[in-house]
């Protein structure tokens, strides 16, 4: 009995040591917390979280000034990831900040645009091109869908169009919920 116990204990120690060694060896050096949070945020830069961009929000989360459920574009998945990263409880998106919407891009009605450049100034990622008095266009690959350009437009010529699925963005579904028989 004793020797069996000893063997087991010895083995347990050996395995523990191996695991510990592995943990030390394979540990990845982390970025500072703010960058890690910022990497999760969607970079829509829409300000719905109440901060002028994702980085400021990330900084606020890191310093404990803001909660993790204030980013509508990041949605539930984003909150989950933040909760995971920070070891906090998941909580649903704060409705005050907005609602999760399918990704859209801004489209400028080129017939109506008066070339006022207001939207250009509003766009956080310089995704709108055009010069004064010339028609403006949104570069749709760069548009984050933040909607910040909608309000400033004096002639309301900007609309948000949901991004359609293409063969390149089409995804296979998660296999039909498996009936996991537990026999």
């Amino acid at each position: 009995m004793l020797s069996a116990l000893l063997v087991m204990a010895g083995l347990a120690i050996a395995i523990g040591a191996a695991l510990g060694f592995a943990a030390v060896k394979f540990r990845v050096e982390g970025d500072p917390l703010v960058d890690k949070i910022d990497a999760i945020l969607p970079q829509t830069q829409c300000g719905q979280c109440g901060f002028p961009g994702c980085k400021p929000y990330a900084t606020a989360i890191a310093s404990g000034e803001a909660d993790i459920n204030q980013c509508p574009p990041g949605g539930e998945e984003g909150i989950r990831k933040l909760a995971d990263l920070l070891g906090r409880e998941f909580k649903p998106l704060n409705a005050e900040n907005g609602v999760e919407k399918p990704k859209s891009v801004a489209v400028i009605d080129e017939n109506t645009c008066i070339g006022c450049t207001l939207c250009i100034q509003a766009c956080p990622v310089d995704a709108i091109v055009g010069a004064a008095k010339q028609m403006h266009t949104v570069i749709d690959q760069l548009c984050t869908g933040c909607e910040l350009c909608l309000a400033p437009c004096p002639v309301d010529c900007i609309t948000m169009e949901p991004v359609g699925e293409t063969v390149d963005t089409w995804k296979w579904h998660y296999p039909v919920i498996p009936i996991r028989t537990a026999a």
Binding site: Q43, Q45, C54, C116, L118, L142, T144, V167, W170
Partner: protein, 563 residues
């Protein structure tokens, strides 16, 4: 004659179901009422349309031009009239649409003028361009543009592999093509050998196709090409996978993410070889292919089908049996269920497999993985599918990638053998597309972050510069004033100052006039509240006017994405 063959691990031996569709020769298909030719039928850029609704086209006329080099052209499969250029449902499991040219045949099948291409008169680059413009892509199912693969490797190409293995059950299009048109395949192989400057050509055919092997051997010996050899390879799915066949014939394993040319090997399907000979010797672009119709049909067989022919038009010739519930493009192991019966035959369509619940019964419900390792023993890529499954199911994609998810060729062997009936490949396809989506998202986020930061910096800089300018100006004017007070005869500078001011005033007036001239004409019929908003905006704009040219010009000036 006995050459040493190599083995790949794993693989399975499902029943082949091949004999039925090989009884009769390749048959022709009567013209359908409409041909729906998708522009995007290959890997790479989507060709742009060269025709418009109402145009009259000839058979073989280019209707879609290759977009860049990694792309391929598309041609009118018959003569007729273009009745629409519009999105149509494509032969893809997603059921999405793609821009297609719809042609109503005139029934005359009038060809364009076909000029054979002289290999001697042209540089290899020109020949490759010709192949691109003739729309030649891999017809084994991968539809990768062939001209891109026909460059000799840096270290020289040792072996050209012609893939006639055709390992998927039911499919016999390559088999029949080899039996009936071996000479032209060999001719195509010769052309490819020449372009690749390959030392030898190995034609791999599974040993369950003795007729094809005999026909090909005959054709090879007739041409007395000493460097060409027909090799019978053991029948074992997926021996026809390019990597597996290369392994069997040469012993070389091409890892995921590397091209076989890096190892001195290049692999083409027999159908591609045949198509290339068509282009070079007869000047005919790729407008049709051999398609197997099998499964739940009365008379399984092979047909020469024009691209764009609706699948049900072809399948009807073989007599669709009652109980049919789906069309599968490709074989039962790797094929995809089609979203509709009338999707067009495209370059990737090697087989229209007519499915029914009797033929392919719905799989039994999935139960827990018992880690029996059957899947790992069957996997030709030497993966551990049960681990991949475990992590895919848990959506732990990082781990799945660590276990080499992307080495999976989706051959289906693992799901074929799993005693727990787990649809393993479904999990892998899901994981892969999810990972790609995330990478796209991450890329977009990174770009947005960079641009946001760049913009913030720019605004900062502008503020700073403005402040500096202002400071300098006040300093200068103060200096000037003190100078003027000190010494009156400095009139010249005074004069220039005045003229500058006048110039600016004039420019502003001009700008104002122009702005008024282009004032929006489409705002008249707006409700009063919106009119008020516009008036407001105008006032606001007037307020910011001096700065606007400045700011507007900035973003286009240098944006990081373009730089």
């Amino acid at each position: 004659m006995q050459r040493k063959l190599f083995k790949f691990n794993g693989g399975v031996k499902p029943a082949t179901y091949k004999t039925d569709s090989t009884r009769e020769p390749i048959k022709a298909v009567p013209l359908p009422a409409q041909l729906i030719v998708p522009l995007h039928q290959h890997v790479g850029g989507t060709p742009y349309p060269l025709v418009e609704t109402g145009d009259v086209v000839l058979k073989g006329q280019r209707i879609g031009a290759a977009d860049g080099n990694v792309s391929s052209a598309v041609h009118a499969p018959t003569s007729g009239r273009v009745v629409a250029v519009e999105p149509r449902v494509m032969a893809h499991p997603s059921g999405l649409t793609t821009l297609s040219v719809v042609i109503e045949p005139d029934g005359e099948e009038r060809w364009i003028d076909c000029e054979p291409i002289s290999l001697r008169a042209m540089s290899p680059d020109q020949v490759r361009d010709e192949l691109r413009d003739a729309g030649v892509v891999g017809l084994g199912g991968a539809v990768f543009p062939s001209h891109l693969k026909l460059k000799p490797a840096n270290g020289g190409t040792d072996t050209l592999v012609i893939n006639g293995a055709e390992c998927e059950p039911f499919i016999t299009c390559d088999d029949l093509l080899m039996r009936e048109r071996a000479e032209q395949i060999i001719r195509g192989a010769e052309i490819m050998q020449q372009l690749l400057q390959a030392r030898r050509v190995l034609i791999g055919i599974e040993d369950n196709k003795p007729e094809a092997i005999a026909a090909m051997q005959h054709a090879v010996s007739a041409r007395a090409a000493g460097s060409m050899e027909v090799v019978a390879v053991p029948t074992r799915y997926p021996a026809g996978g390019a990597k597996q066949l290369i392994r069997v014939l040469t012993g070389i394993e091409v890892p995921h993410g590397r091209r076989s040319t890096d190892y001195g090997v290049q692999c083409f399907n027999t159908g591609t070889a045949y198509a290339i000979a068509d282009v070079i010797d007869r000047g005919r672009p790729l407008v049709s292919r051999i398609v197997t119709v099998a499964g739940n049909v009365e008379r399984p067989g092979n047909y020469e089908v024009l691209f764009g022919t609706p699948m049900n038009h072809v399948a009807a010739l073989a007599g669709i049996k009652p109980g049919t519930d789906r069309f599968i493009m490709g074989g039962p192991m790797m094929g995809f269920r089609m979203p509709a019966y009338d999707v067009p035959v495209v370059k990737a369509t090697n087989c229209i497999l007519v499915g029914s619940p009797e033929l392919f019964p719905p799989p039994e419900p999935e139960i827990g993985c018992i880690r029996c390792g059957e899947c790992a023993r069957a996997c030709p890529a030497d993966l551990q599918p049960f681990e991949l499954y475990w992590y895919s199911r848990a959506k732990n994609f990082g781990k799945a990638q660590e276990y080499h998810l992307f080495d999976c060729i989706e051959c289906g062997c693992c799901a074929y053998v799993c005693p727990s009936h787990i649809p393993l490949v479904d999990y892998f396809r899901f994981s892969k597309s999810e990972i790609w989506a995330r990478e796209r998202q991450k890329h977009a986020a990174d770009v947005a972050r960079d641009r946001f930061e760049f913009r913030n910096e720019r605004i900062e800089r502008e503020k700073r510069e403005k402040a500096e300018k202002l400071a300098a100006k006040t300093a200068a004017s103060r200096a000037a004033a003190s100078m003027a007070a000190a010494a009156a005869p400095a009139g010249t500078s005074d004069h220039s100052e005045d003229s500058k001011k006048a110039l600016i005033a004039a420019a502003m007036a001009r700008a104002k006039a122009q702005r008024e001239a282009i004032a929006p004409q489409n705002t008249e019929a707006l409700p009063p509240d919106q009119q008020a908003q516009i008036v407001n905006a105008d006032a606001h704009r007037a307020a910011i006017a001096p700065a606007d040219g400045n700011i507007a010009a900035q973003p286009t000036e240098k944006s990081p994405a373009e730089g």
